[in-house]
């Protein structure tokens, strides 16, 4: 039987827009799975994450990160694992690794990830993101779910002026339009 391999298509056409003070681009190289923590199963899951990737369960607003993989908090008993989709590890590999200790769901094709970086990133976000992005309140490695314009979103701070903005893939164009408009109006 033939080996069939599918790869995701970028929902925004791999967009990359340089506004001068900031750059907004679609990340198409990130695989996502969500992990729900079973009742009374936090320790077993945490032990497994440590064994597999030297990772731990993220706290409410703080991601966990190793070279290969990032754990992003979603809700009290659920988080997202984000890792490179370069073929080193597939979503199926990750799901099978956690099969006995957590409830996993493939999420790669449910989200769009925009990366916003540059000295103007904060100014652009101030217009649409209600989260306090001061480094004292939202340091590097922080993550928060919130709304931008009218759309549910998740913001992750990778560096002082580098962010992932995640939202539903079904409204990716609207989300991109909202962020792009903010960049355009503030970054020039």
């Amino acid at each position: 039987m033939a080996e069939i391999s599918l790869s995701g298509a970028p929902i925004l056409g791999d967009v990359h827009h340089d506004f001068g003070a900031c750059i907004l681009a679609e990340r198409t190289d990130i695989a996502l799975i969500s992990v729900a923590i079973p009742k009374d199963g936090r320790k077993a899951l945490s032990d497994k994450l440590k064994e597999l990737w030297e990772l731990s369960v993220p706290s409410a607003m703080e991601t966990r990160h190793t070279n290969k993989i990032r754990a992003i908090p979603m809700t009290v008993d659920q988080f997202m694992l984000a890792f490179s989709s370069d073929g080193t590890m597939s979503e199926t590999d990750a799901q099978e690794s956690l099969a006995d200790v957590g409830y996993t769901t493939l999420q790669t094709d449910a989200w769009v990830i925009l990366e916003l970086k540059g000295s103007g990133a904060i100014t652009a976000l101030e217009r649409i993101c209600p989260i306090d992005l001061d480094q004292s309140a939202f340091p590097i490695g922080s993550a928060a779910r919130t709304s931008m314009e009218h759309l549910g979103a998740c913001i992750v701070r990778l560096e002082a002026d580098q962010f992932w903005l995640m939202s539903a893939r079904s409204s990716a164009q609207s989300f991109y339009h909202a962020v792009e408009t903010s960049c355009r109006w503030t970054a020039s």
């Binding site: 409410a60 009290v76 309140a137 779910r145 709304s147």
Partner: protein
């Protein structure tokens, strides 16, 4: 209005959806002998205080948690915010 989420810190009230009186957590036993009266009270009767009121808010544009917010209905001052699951567990519920 800012709601101080117990886990996430201060968040704009626009991220939340209001449900109503926190007594909704205490759903009566629908099979009890007096179920007709208790369910009637549970579904239809609410206190309407001018002052402190415990109410359920849902963090829809956030971590999807349910909160019990104690709010003064006259001044809108919020004096306490708890996770609804903690409130329910304190009442002997399993989740």
């Amino acid at each position: 209005m800012i709601i101080h989420h117990p886990l996430l810190g201060p968040r704009d009230a626009a991220e939340f959806v209001y449900l109503g009186d926190a007594s909704l957590i205490e759903r009566p036993d629908g099979l009890a002998e007096n179920a007709e009266d208790t369910m009637y009270e549970y579904v239809y009767l609410r206190d309407n205080p001018a002052g402190l009121h415990r109410e359920l808010w849902y963090h829809e544009q956030g971590d999807r948690s349910w909160l019990v917010v104690t709010r003064n209905t006259v001044t809108h001052e919020i004096t306490a915010v708890e996770l609804a699951r903690d409130v329910a567990c304190d009442k002997g519920r399993s989740k």
